[in-house]
């Protein structure tokens, strides 16, 4: 049918045009999203998949594409690396160390962060300066932080020893990093110090959402500061405390730099966490398959924590 210039298109034709228009828009959207998508596949999905394949392959396979996907290596794939980890005493003890490290970092971090958040929340003048000071540890690179704390707890020239001896609390300098408990405590303190700023910010945000009326009502009822803290602040802050706590546990599974610099995982694997042992297997001992298998197990554990965080956060929203 000949189109008359200027004539309004029919209803059916308008519908077809709209569908074609939408299809065209979708194509263009996909085209523009393609680079980001390819990047995501290249730097995340593909390495994740390849690493999983490596974790299933036998000893001695180098992680080049030609070796990973070589038929003779694929045909020998199995769970041998995962089975091996069940008998790896260092891996099993690293799980225990990771839990202790995570719990220590979380408890210490929450206590200090809560105190700082309450302080900042109460301060009217100079709050910006106080906040800036609190944020300083976050700006310090992890390796620098680890090295500095290493000097603080140094057995021969450490500041901590000097202060304690001057205060009469010790007679001789202690080698804090020379035994597992002292070393683990040192890495917990050093790591927590760097994460306190972020935890403080989260708790401060939670504090600022609490209703002033609740405090006024408590004050009218005769509650003192401590009672207001325990009966108003803490209950009101519980969702954020839980959220921050779970986040802290997730962060603790990623810690590497401070531990590596301070103790290298010693003494006698006393501070070897899962992250570190997986790294050593893959990059120090060049057992790529076994290291990949350990890394996947760690990712699984972190995934469980991530699900926990999701549930806690959703409950907090509700």
């Amino acid at each position: 049918m000949k189109t008359v210039p200027g004539a309004r298109p029919s209803g059916r034709r308008r519908t077809r045009e709209k569908s074609a228009h939408r299809r065209s828009e979708r194509r263009h959207a996909l085209l523009f999203l393609a680079p980001a998508g390819l990047l995501l596949i290249a730097v995340f999905l593909l390495p994740t998949l390849v690493t999983f394949v490596i974790s299933l392959e036998p000893e001695g396979v180098n992680p080049t594409p030609s070796e990973v996907f070589a038929p003779e290596n694929l045909s020998q794939s199995g769970l041998q690396n995962y089975e091996r980890s069940l008998n790896d005493s260092v891996w099993l003890s690293s799980m225990r160390t990771t839990v202790i490290f995570g719990a220590g970092m979380t408890v210490l971090g929450l206590l200090v962060s809560l105190a700082l958040a309450v302080l900042i929340n109460r301060v009217a003048r100079g709050r910006a300066v106080l906040l800036a000071l609190v944020l300083v540890p976050w700006a310090v690179p992890p390796v620098v932080s680890g090295t500095t704390w290493g000097l603080v707890v140094h057995g021969d020239i450490g500041t901590l020893n000097g202060v304690l001896e001057a205060a009469g609390l010790i007679d001789t300098y202690q080698v804090w990093l020379g035994e597992p408990l002292g070393a683990l405590t040192a890495v917990i303190v050093a790591t927590t110090w760097r994460w306190i700023p972020l935890m403080t910010l989260l708790l401060l945000a939670g504090l600022q959402q609490l209703e002033r009326e609740s405090y006024e009502a408590a004050s009218v009822d005769g509650a003192n500061s401590w009672q207001q803290f325990t009966h108003v602040t803490l209950p009101g802050l519980r969702p954020m405390l839980l959220t921050t706590g779970v986040l802290s546990l997730i962060w603790s599974t990623k810690v590497f730099d401070e531990i590596w610099v301070l103790t290298g995982g010693g003494p006698a694997h006393g501070t070897t966490v899962m992250n570190l042992w997986a790294y050593q297997q893959a990059f120090e001992f060049l057992r790529f398959g076994y290291g990949a298998a350990l890394a996947y197990q760690l990712a699984l554990a972190t995934g469980v924590l991530a699900v926990l965080y999701f549930l806690v956060a959703r409950r907090a929203d509700q």
Binding site: P5, G6, A7, R8, P9, S24, H28, L31, F32, A34, P35, E59, N62, P63, T64, S66, H154, G155, D156, I157, T172, Y173, V175, L177, G178, E179, G264, G266, P267, A268, H269, Q280, F283, E284, F285, L286, R287
Partner: protein
């Protein structure tokens, strides 16, 4: 009034693309496609994308060097260019993380370098994975079977062996030697020259302990220690020295075709060696307790150079440091000699190596020419005259300029006449880590030396399958 696109002939033509006009949507579509194709084309044109690889600039050799050798290598590049007409492009690698950087490239199957530096103990590890070029025939062609021209004979080349073939060459020599503070010994009523001859006397390790006890005291609030060492990640090096002193070795590598050898560090001499370390720390209490947290040589030198530690056993270059008044309070009072002896004196030799990657972009032949230049007598002489890193040729130690620069020349040569093996295997990094853990357990008295070493030996055997 609502705008009716259909009543505008121009817009109607644009939106329908009539008359050859480029619509906005079409322009955007073509731009996106062009960008994507251009990006792919650029990737395909990059050097890495080319078949067969190879340096785009075939006149340049790409050489990675340890940062502390960079100046010397840059000077030798002129010699290299004059003989080959090839320029050299350098990349300095910090010793601490050179392994990570090199492995990162080699395991991807390509090397950006023609020549690479290595700690000697890394050579079998890389050779076992096919990452290094076999240099056996070239070394034989260059030196024949005359290894007597080298300090310590064939010893410095041992760490480059894998299944009887050679994959790396040393550019210097040196193992740990004994350093001591003569003024401190004299102050405590000890003979400051006596340690110089301990290496010749079996059982002098007991005399060393006696001296170390006298040198452990507190004065004016300052604690002095008889001995300090780095017993965290480097504990296995000290243990390796001591086990050879007691007549043993960490691995039995007598079968050249068995690159992994047999674990022997848990046998008699090993237990004696570890017990010796435990006794120094706990029984005699002559070791700075912080030694268990010290990781490398620069953790122990401050106490020694400050005059608070009587003895250390470490690399020869510290002797030059100790004589520098800007860095040392004991300049003029520092002395050095081969280590004391139990059954014999011993050392742990760990020379700097250079090797050629199998995937060297310029080819192995071109890279070998550089290696030959690096090992040539004139370059080694220049290295010796700098006084920092000991040259590999024995004869150079008789030259006045080298002797003047190298105050520890005779000691280095003498120390390498004693057992000096590092027991290097392809899994050296792993078993050394296992051994470090065992040493740590024994030093903290969680386990006896025998228990700790037995457990470590079982772990090493299990990991080897």
């Amino acid at each position: 009034m609502r705008f009716d696109r259909s009543r505008d002939p121009l817009l109607e033509r644009v939106s329908q693309g009539e008359g050859g006009g480029l619509t906005r949507r079409e322009l955007l579509r073509r731009s996106a496609l062009f960008s994507a194709v251009s990006g792919l084309a650029l990737m395909g044109c990059s050097p890495q994308g080319q078949e067969g690889g190879g340096s785009q600039n075939s006149r340049n050799l790409n050489v990675a060097v340890f940062s502390h050798f960079e100046e010397l290598d840059r000077r030798l590049a002129r010699r290299y260019k004059s003989s080959t007409e090839k320029g050299v492009k350098f990349e300095a690698l910090v010793a601490d993380n050179h392994r990570d950087k090199i492995i990162g490239s080699l395991r991807a199957g390509s090397s950006p370098w023609d020549v690479i530096p290595l700690w000697s103990f890394l050579t079998p590890e890389m050779a076992s994975r096919g990452w290094l070029a076999d240099l056996t025939d070239r070394i034989e062609e260059e030196f024949g079977s005359d290894f007597e021209q080298f300090v310590g004979g064939d010893a410095a080349f041992q760490n480059g062996l894998y299944e009887g073939r050679r994959y790396g060459v040393p550019v210097d020599v040196g193992g740990t030697i004994l350093h001591w503070n003569k003024d401190l010994l004299e102050k405590r009523g000890l003979d400051p020259e006596a340690p110089a001859s301990w290496h010749e006397t079996a059982g002098s390790n007991e005399e060393f302990v006696r001296y170390a006890k006298e040198l452990t005291f507190k004065e004016g609030g300052v604690q002095h220690w008889g001995f300090s060492d780095n017993w965290r990640e480097q504990a296995a090096i000290t243990f390796n020295t001591f086990i050879q002193m007691f007549g043993g070795q960490c691995m039995d590598l007598s079968d050249e075709q068995d690159a992994y050898g047999e674990v022997t560090f848990h046998e008699g001499p090993g237990v004696e060696a570890l017990q010796f370390m435990v006794d120094l720390l706990h029984t005699h209490q002559v070791v700075d307790p912080a030694s268990v947290t010290y990781d490398w040589v620069f953790d122990i030198t401050p106490g020694y150079l400050d005059g608070r530690v009587g003895f250390i056993s470490t690399w020869p270059f510290v002797a030059a440091l100790a004589e520098d008044p800007e860095q040392s309070k004991i300049a003029g009072a520092a002395a050095h000699a081969p280590n004391f002896a139990a059954v014999t004196s011993a050392t742990s030799q760990d020379p700097h190596y250079i090797a050629i990657p199998e995937s060297a972009p310029g080819g192995v032949d071109a890279a070998w020419e550089y290696v030959r230049t690096r090992l040539s007598v004139p370059v080694q002489r220049e290295q010796g005259e700098e006084g920092a890193w000991a040259p590999i040729y024995k004869d150079l130690y008789q030259e006045p300029a080298v002797r003047e620069a190298f105050i520890q020349a005779d000691v280095i040569v003498k120390s390498l006449e004693y057992p000096s093996s590092l027991s290097v295997t392809p899994d050296y990094m792993e078993w050394r880590s296992t051994l470090n853990t065992a040493i740590s357990q024994a030093l903290s008295q969680d386990k006896t030396p025998q228990e700790a070493l037995n457990e470590a030996a079982e772990q090493v055997k299990a990991s080897r399958g």
